[in-house]
Symmetry: C2
Subunit: 205 residues, 2 copies
């Protein structure tokens, strides 16, 4: 598949696919409709993709890698767990606000992939979640976070940041930068940063 | 439409619709398929629903009211903001874990409703979110929460609890009760409960 760069046919096709899959769902989107939305002929469309399913998989892979690449780079040489976590939050919030349609399609249409493709995406997602989990565990080990269940805290933080795609609007009251910054502060609070003997540290699950 | 109670045709139809809309999406689910999944004839199906769209709307209304009814009851005579917030979290987490398919369908398929039906659901959702927002603001006013942006904190908390539908499993490590309890503790941390001069209280957005 051609790379999704430049204002090319490929790019128009990708953008059209994301719009339609988000608006109607993958299964309900027809090939003719996709060609029409991308403003290309059916034959040109098949020049740029193999099947609708492979297009969906490629979109999702691109989405997951847009998250994973900067997250891996950030943690290649880990720094303070606090700073690293704030960096992860910034990456996650920016992606889910700025590319909300692709992010929603990735979450919703995992159901539509073949078992093999689904496994590829889940493998990347697991690697990504582990970067968060390891950062939180590291913070607990170093004593800068004070919680007992890092796995649940990881889910809570990821989902809180993912959920921005439900309500963020470029015309809204808060910029992506403001949301990332404020969510970072909420996250540090949540993890009991700087709060010795916090409620969560003492909670039994 | 007949009420969705008892092991009746209506109930089978509702369950089948939720399963299919969650698995394939609303637009891709055909009437014949719905009848087959519910194990009823097409004519019996039309005895129990008007259109596929009205069925979707009714399912969503039921979902929203399953959240709203206990939340309204809880806050009819507000108590401590801490106790009230923990109650809201319990209601929200239980619904999103135990009725995850309906909750996901409600989030994803808002796009498939008519403008009028969408407005009815959004009105209920706004009322529901306001119950959370007002509780958090009350906690700030009473000095038991220490945050500056109650609107963003409301989104963060709601989405963190909503996200349980992505990962909770009845066969998993944590019970719904454990998740609700632990998320409650994380939420109080997040809101700076008991942490004078918390990071968030001092953050500028």
């Amino acid at each position: 598949m051609a790379a999704n760069t430049g204002n090319s046919t490929s790019e128009r096709l990708w953008d059209a696919a994301i719009r339609l899959f988000d608006r109607k769902g993958f299964a309900a989107t027809g090939i003719r409709e996709l060609a029409s939305e991308a403003d290309v002929s059916i034959s040109a469309l098949y020049h740029h993709m193999d099947t609708k399913n492979s297009l969906l998989r490629d979109l999702m892979l691109e989405g997951m890698n847009t998250l994973l690449t900067p997250a891996r780079a950030l943690l290649e040489s880990p720094g303070s767990p606090v700073v690293d976590l704030l960096g992860l939050i910034r990456i996650h919030v920016a992606f889910h606000c700025e590319r909300s349609a692709l992010a929603k399609v990735t979450d919703v249409e995992l159901r539509s992939l073949s078992a093999e493709d689904r496994q590829s995406i889940i493998k990347l997602r697991d690697e990504y979640q582990k970067l968060w989990f390891d950062t939180i565990v590291r913070g607990c080990t170093e004593g800068v976070f004070a919680i007992k269940e890092p796995r649940l805290a990881t889910f809570a933080l990821l989902e809180m940041c993912t959920g921005t795609y439900h309500w963020y609007s470029p015309e809204g009251h808060y910029s992506v930068e403001q949301i990332a910054r404020y969510y970072g502060a909420l996250a540090l609070n949540m993890l009991g940063h700087g709060a010795a003997g916090s409620d969560v540290g003492g909670a039994s699950v």
